[in-house]
Amino acid sequence: MSTRPRHWLRLDSSVFWVLVGTIALIVLSFWSLDLQLARVLSLESLARMGKFFGELLSPNLEPVFLSKLLRASLETLAMSAVGTLLATIFGLLLAVPASRSYAGDPARWRFLTRLVLNALRAIPELVWAALLLISAGLGPFAGTLALALHTTGVLGRLFAESIENAPQNAAVALRVQGVGEGRVFLYATLPTVCPQLMSYALYRWENNIRAAAVLGVVGGGGLGQMLSFHMGLFQMQETSSILAAMILLVILVDTLSYFARRLLSR
């Protein structure tokens, strides 16, 4: 390494090529998409947008509708909670075969379970929900299972990592006494990693509340389903209340988790 920093504008600098590639990608994207930005940003369309957002300013605040909204919000919360709980259980069940718990552990199922976990994780909740609608029908159940499937992939992977990286002291102490692997896991490894697993699960729950609000758009229940229903009928007052409820829910969850984390890290 020379003492003077190399200039980044050189053909053999990786920064230069990343920059060229990025600019090419951006130009190609705009060119191939044919966004008709002129039409989107035309006065007529801006006026339409203004009218649309103007209509959103008069929410429907009738008690009957608000109680329906509250029920949908609770349904969203319930979906995220049940989905996360199921994912924690199945994630833990899959994390055990997906981890190599000690040096020399044959871990025969490690590759296969990791493949399953990756596939579960790679498919977004929304696609899972759309797929599950076919076999479970419209409603919150499909949404809950969709959350559970995707989150199982995410949590299973994280759980397996923390099981592999867990401090081995307690497990070794049991293992040299001749205790079987199942009981070593239950009495040594699991208690060691439990706080970390809980914090992962809570973090995913926070994510899932946001995801659950959206899932309904494809028919998976909760606030999203109500939103797509009323928006489809151009009932702007109802739409406006639902959007407000969604934003409130997200901000509430963010604030709560912020304070919870501050409390925990103190």
Partner: protein, 281 residues
Amino acid sequence: MRLIPMARFKDPSLRDPAWSRRVFWFVVACVILWPALVSTEFRPWVFFEAQNLKVTTHFLAEFFPPALNPEFLELVAREAWRTVAIATAGTFLALLFAIPLTLLSTTVLSVSSLSGRMRALPFVVRQLIRWLLILLRSVPELIWALVFVRVVGLGPAAGVLAIALTYAGMLGKVYGEILESGEREPATALLRNGAGRIQTFFFSVLPGNATELTSYTIYRWECAIRASTVLGFVGAGGLGQQMDNSMRMFNGSEVATMLIVFILLVGLADLLSTWMRRALQ
């Protein structure tokens, strides 16, 4: 395992001291969980109702073999590129929105706060922009897309605008945090010596944080690709829209192909983003 005689449970030294507490919390958990299960209409047996079972097995049986005829593959390739293009264009627009909002809202470039507290007007302006950023990112991109499909019509423009707005909120917030957590002394020194705010930004704040800012932007681009695959489900173009069509027609083999492309695309974006971030280090 050998059977444990019941007498051992009677022995007080072997009794679980936390037993009653465990039972109590278990019951509490069940009481909380029950209404949640009712509310989510948790009925796993619907999967095994004859009609649903027939539809599902028929649909799943079609997954193999995946659709591989050339016309369809060409269509999927075109839609996959559109997905990437929507994500890229959206992230780029988000960047254009986020930069001025960050410059206006960051406290690093505040002149009045050099001597004691920030003055009232700049404080209010910064706070308002922060609230705007919170509002932008509190609405999920899918909801923005749903709104924009109504306003600008079906097609990629709605997807691009949706990603642009949500990600402007996220980028603006995180850029602000990065700038404020970096070293402030060089910027303060420049400002105290009479440098303008733009000068201070280009000669001290930006060079000091450039790596972190780019790395976060690339990470967001990766997230945008994940998001834009899904935006199609509400009609905003790309792979999602095609997948929605195939699902409505219960065409299992087409869905299988697209799921594979989906996984490959997300994996590729992941690899590319990791590689780019490493190249910039």
